[in-house]
Symmetry: C2
Subunit: 287 residues, 2 copies
């Protein structure tokens, strides 16, 4: 089945979906994105993603391509047209194109942002084999730019990090800066020791994960102990268990770091419990 995607007001077959070569998203990575999960045909935490999108746009002085209601309508229409039961919706907004290349931002009065959305069908997303097995991660230096709180498409290094992990026989990489773990290539990172969940506090150094926020709230409600502070990869290797959170993989147990198995090398009880709670509550609140 050919996907129907959305580009600047039009619903198009994916094979016909293009942007100008002068689009600033293409020429200068002048673009931000969001990925929203779909479970049971409904959107998980749409509100959280819409709010973060607005924040990313504001930080970059970029205009909104449309209001939140319209955004919701486009998401829902794509789910319907592409018959998505479980999967993802990818959304990207760029500063658009004034028909040429210049470092200086084009006039927002005359140059409108580009908006692109498409679905990815992922049957079995909620019960993925990967989540049951858990992920193996390696650690690599974090050499990304220093505004990781803005969700830009400058994803070359995260992509290179996934490739380094793959070559090392692992699933993903955790990034290290000044001796401390920042986050995973496309997720926030946590470890658990003696029942306490440790994760890095929010700053410009890491993505302000929508799933991070929800999971920490749920952990608190479940009376779990949480400590937000910097932590090293050595600490994490000595943990009882570890996990990551992201909008597309929810809560993903981590079973090995740099070749060191955590606990008995299988997903830990806290990660498994948080995944259950997150999926359960998120599906109830899905719209």
């Amino acid at each position: 089945m050919t996907r129907t995607v959305y580009v600047n007001g039009q619903y198009l077959p994916e094979t016909e979906a293009t942007v100008s070569i002068f689009d600033r998203g293409f020429l200068m990575a002048d673009a931000v994105y969001e990925v929203t999960s779909v479970l049971g045909g409904k959107l998980i935490d749409f509100e959280g993603h819409a709010v973060r999108l607005k924040r990313s746009l504001d930080e970059l002085e970029m205009s909104e391509p449309c209001d939140k209601d319209e955004l919701l309508e486009i998401h829902r229409k794509l789910v319907e047209l592409n018959e998505i039961d479980e999967g993802l919706i990818y959304l990207q907004v760029t500063r658009g194109s004034d028909g040429d290349r210049d470092f200086v931002f084009p006039d927002p009065e005359t140059t409108k942002p580009t908006i692109v959305l498409f679905t990815q069908n992922k049957p079995g997303l909620a019960n993925s084999p990967a989540s049951q097995k858990g992920a193996k991660v390696i650690s690599i230096p974090d050499i990304r730019w220093h505004r990781r709180d803005i969700k830009t498409v400058q994803l070359l290094y995260p992509s290179m990090g996934k490739m380094m992990a793959k070559k090392a026989g692992a699933d993903d990489a955790w990034l290290i800066e000044d001796g401390y773990v920042t986050e995973g290539t496309s997720n926030n990172a946590y470890y658990v020791k003696n029942g306490k969940i440790v994760t890095r506090p929010l700053s410009n150094d890491i993505l302000h994960g929508i799933t991070r926020k929800a999971v920490l709230r749920m952990a608190e409600e479940a009376q779990m102990e949480i400590e937000e502070r910097l932590f090293t990869i050595e600490e994490a290797k000595e943990a009882d268990e570890a996990f990551t959170t992201s909008a597309s993989a929810f809560v993903m147990p981590v079973v090995e770091i740099d070749g060191v198995a955590l606990g008995d090398g299988t997903p830990g009880p806290i990660a498994k419990r948080l995944r259950e709670i997150y999926l359960d509550e998120s599906m109830k609140a899905a719209i």
Copy 2:
């Protein structure tokens, strides 16, 4: 006049030149670029740009879209079709698209790189009023990723830097990391004190400028003293003169840094002389 541009083997009107929304250049800034100047209808240092392009591609394990001869032919044909006497040719290569979005690189056997080229007509480029007036720069923190030697399209921060400069009434920004100047937003940075040219040595921290290499060689041939070392913005502010080099602006005198005029606030003799030598020699060697 509508430009003719080049996209993946086709010469197209600029208004019809598009790439897939799934192109990794658009989704992940997984792309590199080069900008070559045209003077008198000929290409300046094409060889240097072709060699650097190959290096960028190699560093990212990206395939070459075509060989150097073909690249030269495309450059020349675009100059001819668009009747460029003075101007620029922009070239971008991306890892292409396998029709979906994934952090993992697509198989290079089945996914070919995307190649895009277009011209920018700039009459008077060699004698631009900007070069006669000199540039005012401000200093801002360097928060870019740490492989600036690879010429990727991750240009959001350089673009933001130009906007910061503009808002401050300046022309450009010099970037500061760990107390030292790295380079300009899209050029290499130099100051001159007591006849000695000071510039940062090559590393992963700065672009390996094609124009930098040529200008340093020419300065040496002209018996000028050169010192390649880290330098602070304070040193530069106390300089007799300063300048930047880039493929699109050649040697650009800098007359003011953070509001402090250098010398008498007009382009310095060494910058002017190097610009003359560079333009003269480059035009002789142009192909």
